[in-house]
Amino acid sequence: MWSILANPHRFMAFSKIAIPIAFALGLILFGYFLWQGLFVVPTDEVQGGDIFRGMFIHVPSAWMCMGLYVGLAGSSFVWFIWRHELADVAARAIAPIGAGYTALCLATGAVWGKPTWGTWWLWDDARIMSVLVLFFLFIGYMALRAALETRQKAARAGAILAMVGVINVPVIRFSVDIWSSIHQGPSVIRADGPAMSWVYLQPLLLIFLGQLLIISALILILMRAEIYNQQADAALARRLSKA
């Protein structure tokens, strides 16, 4: 299915329609259910009162930063094997958004941690550490791409780094089970079904879906910008060669 979009012309036609739809739908879902989550759903006293509402930002951003890294590694893999140019354009667009979401996840985690655990930060918690590692992976990826002189070299080196770094994602996923410290265990994705009540789970999932749509639109916008950039470079090169 995706290979249909590997053609840049078809991609441009598709993204032109998809961006406004995804963006509008995402904003509606995200806005409505964030309001539900922050103001409407009943307070969960077991989880420390109103502070639990931070979950509606923190948890989706944690899923998102891992998902974005998997997306980065996946498109790097596709580019490395099949050399679909769009896969590299996607990887390049995902990296800054992923770094931003990882930072958001760490920041909201710290804000949530202060009143409930009594500390902003804890160095011996495996979950915090592995998200921090994820942050450095995104930063290192962008720094490596920026340092290499040609687009082709940057794409290849970045793809190798992103694929090697993917080992960190399962480490984050299982770090809560293996080295349990202060971070709570999984309460949504687990073998015996979600432990969270549906009242909270429904807005949480829909906020995540809304953010996913918004992010998809952002990535598509960045990809379009990059394609325009490449087309401009090519046009410039043509004009210079004629002159």
């Binding site: 495996a126 550490m129 921090l132 590692v133 994820l134 450095f136 992976l137 930063i139 290192g140 720094a143 490596l144 340092a147 290499l148 002189e149 070299k153 290849r156 080196a157 190798i160 780094l161 694929m163 090697v164 770094g165 080992i167 960190n168 480490v171």
Partner: protein
């Protein structure tokens, strides 16, 4: 497929160290210098040093690997050795692994042999010395393998030192975590096994990544 280029890459890594005139002394001096700086910067109380001593040595080991790895593949790119390696029958991954191992033998292993002495000055209890050396040995090898990947990726970048450190940092962290836990638990605990597993993982995965990165640099 022949083993000759693999062997020569190994020999080259070993002899390059002597060719500069300093041999083993340069990495050793850097390692000891970094470790010795710490008592001056944080204070020299014995209890404090005993607690942070093993960690200081991990840090010094990681820094030493960054500093020595910067030019490991860059020089080969500039003098054309890399182009010849790519044309060899032997796998470039194995050549890169051999070069990194040779480099570790010169710049990494001696540091481990020096750790008992430094540990003594940093007030680390003597009974911890042997398990510590094992952990530093495994950890150092892992550092050099991942650092080698970063160095290979940045081979065509001028003044790549900081970039190598930034790229390699996420890959160093698990090793440092397991290594520190292993020093606390001793040889009976699970952490030394995790540390060994991470070393084996690096030995298995890093050469392939180095090979791919070097083929890119040679293009």
């Amino acid at each position: 497929m022949t083993g000759a280029p693999i062997l020569s890459a190994f020999n080259q890594a070993v002899s390059e160290a002597w060719a500069s005139g300093a041999g083993l002394l340069l990495p050793l001096g850097f390692f000891a210098g970094t470790a010795v700086l710490v008592p001056f910067s944080v204070g020299s109380e014995s209890e404090l040093l005993a607690r942070i001593g093993p960690g200081i040595l991990w840090l010094a080991l990681a820094l030493a690997s960054f500093v020595t790895l910067e030019r490991i593949f860059q020089a080969d790119l500039q003098d054309g050795a890399l182009d010849l390696w790519v044309q060899e029958d032997a796998s470039i991954s194995l050549i890169a692994a051999a070069k990194t191992l040779g480099h570790w033998l010169i710049s990494g292993l001696p540091l481990v042999l020096l750790t008992p002495l430094l540990a003594l000055t940093l007030q680390v209890p003597p009974e911890k010395t042997l398990p510590a050396m094992l952990a530093y040995g495994l950890g150092g090898l892992t550092f050099f393998m991942w650092g080698g990947v970063a160095a290979a990726l940045a081979a065509s970048v001028a003044r790549a030192g900081l970039l190598i450190a930034l790229i390699a940092l996420p890959f160093y962290l698990p090793t440092v975590i397991f290594g520190t836990l292993a020093l606390e638990e001793g040889l009976g605990g699970a952490s030394i096994l995790f540390l060994g597993a991470s070393t084996l993982f690096a030995l298995g995965v890093a050469p392939a990544a180095m090979g791919a990165a070097l083929r890119l640099a040679a293009d």
